[in-house]
Amino acid sequence: MDLYEHQGKELLRQYGIETLEGVVATTPDEAREAAEKLGGTVAVKAQVLTGGRGKAGGIKVVKSPDEARDAAEQILGMDIRGHTVRRVLIEAGAAIATEMYLSITVDRTARKPLILFSTEGGVDIEEVAEKSPESIVRLHVDPLVGLLPYQARELRFSAGLEGDVAKGVGKVLSNLYEAFTGADASLVEINPLVATEDGRVLALDAKVTVDNSSLYRHKEIAELHDVEAADPQEQRAQEAGLQYVKLDGDVGILGNGAGLVMSTLDVVAQAGGTPANFLDVGGGADAEKISAALDIVTSNPEVKSVLFNIFGGITRGDEVARGLMTAIERSNIELPIVVRLDGTNAEEGRRILAENTPQNVHTEETMLDAARRAVELGRG
């Protein structure tokens, strides 16, 4: 789960990391008020769960409350990479001396947290990695031991930091690691991390991603989840415990297991069709879930045919069949549906379907045949 900048900063503040003073506004007038309260030069920043808002015009630095109002008027409602701006953060100004980059992510290969630091902040770290890789300091942390004092020293000396900045960055590093583990984050990124002219080190931006699997133990973070931001169908899928991604084609696809569904998409494409979505019903999907899944897929008006590919392991064929029957009955689906059922309790599932097959449901033995049939039926 991604946090908005202002939420991420709130989290960082809880872990002792300094930020600039800021106020969230949802209307131009609120923005004006906030700017008045903060005084002086302020930044008006679009709150969106995507990068590149600066280039897209989502950040404006203004010198008066009225200008703040105007800036907010422009930014609110703006579309940035498919995300609509619903809130802006009005943030106080600061005299910035240097901009740095600091993040902690999970390195899957090393199976350890990875710290990245660069004295070149404020730009894409990928760009920095390309242009001046020597400016990036990389440090792995042992998950059981945690961050050690010597690692802060390595960062400091490798990056050539000195004086107050070295001290400030060291403190932020240790607090950020606490935030990373404490909030079960898979990413905490401060870009830029700035040193002010008076020697303070503070987070000018914050990107925090919290591991969804851990949300049961972070109720306060789970509550931040922004339902408005998601596509309504993706939102509905998430509530039903399904993984749904909308795509541009016309063959609706359901299956169990991310790998099998991805492979089904590929096979549909190889058969000359274009997938309308990715939908994984997950392991052990019961009738209720299958029914919800079919509803979601068919609610996309582009969908011309549906391919239903189940290879049961933890998912049982009989339940899948029952869910399918329920969904078809309930939603009165008339689109052609091609079903391919294999694995655990598949025979029982096929029996249920055979006993009561509606006109529009077709069964196929193999994945390849099922894909071809779905593409063919979709063409009318």
């Binding site: 999970v106 969804n212 299956g255 991310a258 099998l260 590929d266």
Partner: protein, 291 residues
């Protein structure tokens, strides 16, 4: 021989009285698996379909000689269950459970460095050595004893490919679902190493996905360390960039983590890379013919 599980496997099921644990224990009992014990705290002394239930893994191991465990407990208790099985002497542990927090797994996988043990998963279908032992939720009827080792990040895609192999009369030595989570106990390379060392495995199948660079690292390993022929398949050719496709691991964020890029890297390393499950079986048949 087979790898990880075989005729010597004495299995304890953690969470045996739960819905999934119970269901799959029943299925494992129908197969070749020697399920010697179950564990559910507070239900010690009961029995489950003839399998004695204990309160702790330590007790189960002491009383039954269990040496392998499979975990079906809820995600919030899974890390604890893994530690319990490792500390009770289990040397192969399969964690089927989905949704185990990443930071829990970071600690578990760090702890594994201290031990001579193998953790498969979490969020995986388990391990099956057909005709020997089934420590999984995989539908065992589709498997056939044989000489092809299968390793996969995906569960159901594994069934699909195994099914294609079996339908062509190609049997499997061991099939391992390593799981699709960001942090897993055992990766491709560790399993491929075991297949390479297994005299029974004459060909290995590696089933990958978009996202990450595990397949590229495996390609390097295969090229430099393996004599056993390997057939690979990467799912997700049609996945758009920047979207998460189900598995936490399956997110495409840059050019070189796409299925195309991975397949090309594999081919560049001299590895047969298929574009769909049926083709995997064809390439395996070809590899076995050429020896």
């Amino acid at each position: 021989m087979a790898i990880l599980v075989d005729n010597d496997t004495r299995l304890v099921v953690q969470g045996i009285t739960g819905r999934e644990g119970g269901f799959h224990t029943g299925r494992m009992l129908q197969g070749d698996t020697n399920v010697v014990a179950g564990v559910t705290p507070g239900k010690g002394g009961q029995d489950f379909e003839g399998v004695p239930v204990f309160n702790t893994v330590e007790e189960a191991a002491r009383e039954t000689g269990a040496n392998t465990s499979v975990i079906f407990v809820p995600a919030s208790f899974s890390a604890d269950a893994i530690f319990e099985s490792l500390d009770s002497g289990m040397r192969t542990v399969c964690c089927i459970t989905e949704g185990v927090p990443v930071h829990d797994m970071l600690k578990v996988s760090d702890y594994m460095r201290m031990l001579d043990a193998t953790l498969i998963g979490p969020n995986c279908p388990g391990v099956i050595s057909p005709g020997k032992s089934n420590v999984s939720i995989m539908p065992q009827d589709i498997f056939l004893p044989g000489n092809v080792g299968v390793v996969s990040r995906s569960g159901t895609l594994t069934y699909q490919i195994v099914n294609e192999l079996t339908q062509r009369g190609i049997g499997q030595s061991t099939a391992v679902g390593i799981g699709g989570d960001p942090i897993i106990g055992t990766d491709f390379i560790e399993i491929l190493k075991k297949f390479e060392a297994d005299p029974e495995t004459e060909c290995a199948v590696m089933i990958g996905e978009i996202g990450g660079n595990a397949e590229q690292l495996a390609a390097e390993f295969i090229q430099s360390e393996m004599k056993t022929p390997v057939v690979a398949y990467i799912a997700g050719f049609t996945a758009p960039e920047g979207k998460t496709m189900g598995h936490a691991g399956a997110i495409v964020s840059g050019g070189d983590t796409t299925a195309q890029a991975k397949s090309e890297a594999l081919r560049a390393a001299g590895i047969r890379a298929a574009t769909n499950p049926s083709e995997v079986a064809e390439l395996v048949a070809e590899a076995l013919r050429k020896g």
